[in-house]
Amino acid sequence: MHGQCGLFFTSYAREAQIFQSRFQKTAMALFFAALVGVVPFLNTYHVSVLCLINIAVVGAVALNILTGRCGQISLGHGAFLGVGAYASAALTGMGLPFVLAMPAAGLVTACVGMIFGLPSLRLKGIYLAIATLAAQLILEYVFLHLDAVTGGSNGLSVDPPSIAGFAFDSDLKMFYLTLGVATLAVLGAANLMRTRPGRAFTAIRDHYLSAEIVGVNLFAWKLAAFGMSSFLAGVAGSLWAHYTMYITPEQFNIGLSVGYLAMIIIGGMGSVLGSVFGAVFLTLLPEAINFAAQHAGQTFAGVADYLLAMKAGVFGLVLVLFLIFEPEGLARRWRLIKAYWKLYPFAY
């Protein structure tokens, strides 16, 4: 019984594998088995937080393709989620089954995203940020005033998703659905990153001029990044709409866009795993603060109010601290932890 020391590849295909070692595959399988097996025994609060995490994972992975990997900043991500939510609500409202409506909503969002991605050919950095901010504002206006489709200020009531007569009408059922979609999104994105599109995106992000010289069509690939990212954002929006069952324009405001940007910064720009970490971290942060405030309040009266008042501040502080001390996000921290344990106890 001789185990391998480190990873040794004899072909490029082996090196590009998503799960490179048997240990990784086993660990992943165990993780999923635990996730699927344990969740039925949790209460609905915990399950619903897991649902929100799954949805956030899809949204964060989407933004990480565009902003983390391709380097095109987007402040309109929240509104793109909204497009997906409203499109999915409208399509299922017209009688289209959910299995078709969700990808269709993604496609609608992809088209919208590509339209708002057009300026990216000419605009970079802060200028593109402003252009996508315009997308956010325009789309919010459309949500509010396209009464016939969006219900305007009254919002839109949505039914829980049902696939082939099976209604996902409880948190537990929704958890399995969102977990399935999130897994597909994460695997899809990971696959995208290691193939031609991913390499093209990286080239554009790192040096657009060199990318063009080696034959990457900047315009086509930037638009493709907007399209793919918006597609997944639309899917996330669709899940959100069918999970909350009630959507209003206010839910898809600039705050949501900033929240998703924060997720990929905290998780790790350009890393699929980082998007997952970021989504988990930022969804749990307010819950953790609420938990702390509630329990601190029982022992020390008055502390709860201060803790709650600091909530917005904590969000900003965490973001700044990550930018200073861990600019590559939780994904890098994870790699360091893995490296440490790999060599334990003989770290040298």
């Binding site: 937080v49 206010e250 307010p286």
Partner: protein
């Protein structure tokens, strides 16, 4: 080591005790508040009102012999946090009813409270929440935004002396909350014989409204509706004063309160504020209790509305307990059987019906005179079926 073990054991014991205390017979209610978000300035007094009312009721021996236990979560006006807070209420805190807050949480939870059968009293007064067909478990204790506007229009029309038709204009933010009552208001104004001369959008975060008001000034409206928050109302009133605009402003329930005078100074003089609860110090039976509860420290009218919301919820619980058991559906049925319930004079009398969740059709009008909200009258409209939910 021994000390650690002792400390650990003590902690465990404390935990067990607190769990045992929780298990006592009490009525658990969820309170969703915005204490730190964009509506925190009015969310804090409203939540204080709820808490003080519960403390008062518990001091009286509770409701139906049981103490009220409030579980409060600050959701910072974020739909996602409202959703997870609500799930926590249901799964861990086992609440029987919910006291909600704004449009954001109330609408995001409409379907959930219907499914989980959790009666909800919130402070989002959108008319569409009064129709039990679409929002069966939603209640609130103030006339909805549309009814408020209609009542004010009626109030001014009844006091109109000149021969010509009065002219009215609308200023509101291009946001769900601002847009909601506008179609109803315009239709009713025309019906009453007003001339609707114009409308302008001023955002909730606007710093300047001069351009919009210059356009309105040319149309010479006699009355101008302001939908918005106290901050945006103050901006509009100050700019109107600067331009020398002669119009009577009337504002919705969130657009004008005790803070407006601080923000707008004498520009707010002569304007009308539409409210659903009395103001601090007004001579009604409940005020003595509030004065005692707050130690004589003046509170905003939002505090009093929060106080009254809790009283109405408690009345529903009391009736449900009298009829048998305290469950969500029983509280809903009990609330729907309220007929002219008077929350100690703090709001107009409240009735809910199984097919109509409008609490009443009455609006208190306050005029700002000498920097103070002064009662100017109460306007009560007919409970017309065709207005339900619109």
């Amino acid at each position: 080591m021994k000390r650690i073990v002792t400390a650990f054991a003590l902690c465990l014991a404390a935990l067990c005790l607190s769990v045992a205390a929780m298990a006592q017979d009490e009525i658990r209610l969820g309170v969703l508040s915005d204490l730190t978000g964009p509506t925190g300035d009015v969310g804090v007094p409203y939540a204080e009102g709820i808490k003080d009312a519960a403390a008062y009721l518990n001091g009286q021996g509770g409701v139906a012999g049981k103490k009220i236990a409030l579980v409060q979560v600050d959701y910072a006006y974020n739909a996602q946090q409202a959703l997870s807070a609500y799930k926590k209420f249901i799964a861990q805190d086992k609440i029987v009813a919910l006291l909600g807050w704004g449009t954001q949480d109330t609408e995001a939870l409409t379907k959930f409270v219907g499914k989980d059968e959790i009666p909800t009293i919130s402070a989002s007064y959108s008319a569409h929440l009064t129709d039990p067909k679409s929002a069966p478990y939603n209640f609130f204790i103030a006339a909805d935004y549309s009814t408020q506007m209609r009542a004010a229009l009626k109030f001014f029309k009844d006091r109109w002396k000149e021969g010509r038709a009065p002219k009215v204009a609308f200023v509101y933010p291009d946001a769900p909350y601002g847009l909601a009552p506008i179609p109803a208001g315009k239709a009713y104004a025309t019906e009453l014989g007003y001339e609707v001369v114009g409308e302008e959008n001023v955002g909730l975060k606007a710093m300047d409204a001069t351009a919009e008001l210059l356009r309105l000034q040319k149309l010479e409206p006699d009355y101008t509706w302001i939908g918005g928050t106290t901050q945006s109302t103050a901006v509009i009133m100050k700019d109107a004063q600067k331009l020398g605009m002669k119009t009577v402003f009337f504002t919705n329930i969130w657009g004008s309160d005790e803070n407006l005078v601080k923000l707008a100074g004498n520009a707010a003089e002569g304007s009308y504020s539409l409210q659903a609860a009395v103001i601090y110090g007004q001579d009604v039976p409940g005020m003595k209790i509030i004065e005692k509860q707050t130690g004589g420290k003046p509170q905003m009218t939002h505090y009093i509305r929060g106080f009254a919301s809790m009283l109405v919820m408690a009345e529903g619980i009391r009736k449900a307990a009298a009829a048998g058991e305290i469950t969500g559906p029983a509280i809903k049925t009990a609330l729907e059987s309220l007929r002219d319930y008077d929350p100690m004079g703090l709001t107009p009398a409240i009735s809910f019906f199984p097919d109509d969740h409008r609490p009443n059709m009455a609006v208190f009008l306050y005029k700002i005179e000498g920097g103070k909200l002064t009662p100017a009258g109460t306007e009560t409209l007919e409970r017309k079926a065709e207005w339900l939910g619109k």
